[in-house]
């Protein structure tokens, strides 16, 4: 299935969870936030939230800023 991940088209396995996606990307759970189709996914739901074809996922964190 196709997922738009941080603005880029990516191919992902069916049945992948947010937790699975973060693990695959080697991203720790601390101090990141995830949005699926403009809705925030709470950390408690990372395991059970499964991705669907065409989902738009944003994974954000803190960078330097003023």
């Amino acid at each position: 299935m196709q997922i738009i991940l941080n603005g880029e088209k990516t191919e992902q396995q069916e049945g992948l969870s947010i937790a699975g996606l973060l693990a695959q990307l080697n991203i720790g759970l601390e101090r990141v936030a995830v949005e699926a189709n403009m809705e925030i996914v709470p950390k408690a739901k990372y395991e059970i939230h499964l991705l669907s074809d065409g989902d738009k996922i944003e994974i954000v964190h803190f960078v330097g800023g003023g």
Partner: protein, 259 residues
């Protein structure tokens, strides 16, 4: 001499340092970390951006201990209330507190705030339980509106972001100080240590800056200068300056003159 009882209180939290520092525009993450340490700042601003999917690259938080500082996420780059609200929600999910530096920009050239959108966003965010610190124009009517909405502080600009022009309208800042009860923090415009001291001598609760330190030829030295300027300005404000007079007033006594 630092007065340890003179705490800055924002949203029910106490801080010893009245200097808040941004984390953008440094030459390296090592330099960012060192400047922050030397500045003595306890509140540091950060931006919310996409994670780099190339995990071989380092990120800011690999260099900064988030337990040592309170991270204050900003909404830099947001031009609508909607985008700013979305950014704040993400920041709260990623971070550890409800504090946000709310900025809604009106224009890329001036980076002046869009105050109409700012008020809209502030209302929603306060209702959602955020501790909102809004970057705003140096306008007392607006600042009072932000206070009435429930913002924990107001952060009027001294001059455009990154301009280094200093406090262009100290009288506006004074009027704001006389009419709002929440902490007034000058955010943006400071260029040198004397600018920071002026903001503090006016009676501001604190100063927030980024470019003045990060863009200095020696950011570490400037971080220290800013730390001292904020302390000096605060002490000077609390000590109460002499009134300005047009003519001289001799410091040595006339009594006992032998000429």
């Amino acid at each position: 001499m630092t007065d340890n009882t003179d705490k800055l209180v924002i949203g029910g939290r106490e801080f010893n340092s009245r200097l808040m520092v941004g984390t953008g525009k440094y030459a390296s993450f090592e330099q960012t970390a060192r400047a922050l340490e030397v500045s003595g700042a306890e509140i540091i601003t950060v931006a919310v951006r996409r994670v780099n999917l190339d995990r071989s690259k380092e990120s800011l938080l690999d260099f900064i201990d988030p337990k040592k500082y309170m991270l204050l996420p900003n909404t830099a780059g947001c031009y609508t209330a909607e985008d700013a609200i979305r950014t704040c929600r993400l920041a709260r999910e990623a971070g550890m507190s409800d504090f946000v530096k709310l900025e809604v920009l009106g224009d890329e050239k001036t980076l002046f705030p869009d105050n109409e959108e700012l008020l809209k966003a502030a209302k929603v965010l306060v209702a959602e339980g955020f501790t909102v610190l809004p970057y705003c124009s140096d306008d007392v009517i607006l600042c009072k509106k932000l206070e009435d909405i429930g913002c924990a502080a107001v952060m009027p600009l001294g001059a455009p972001i990154g301009s280094g022009l200093g406090i262009r309208n100290p009288y506006n800042i004074r009027i704001i100080l006389e009419n709002v009860k929440v902490p007034v923090i000058v955010d943006a415009g400071v260029g040198s240590a004397s600018d920071a001291a002026i903001a503090m001598e006016l009676g501001c609760a604190g100063v927030l800056m980024n470019t003045a330190i990060a863009g200095a030829q020696d950011p570490i030295a400037m971080a220290e200068a800013m730390k001292l300027a904020v302390i000096a300005g605060r002490l000077s404000f609390k000590a109460g300056r002499i009134p300005r007079k047009l003519y001289a007033n001799a410091s040595s006594p006339l009594d006992g003159m032998f000429l």
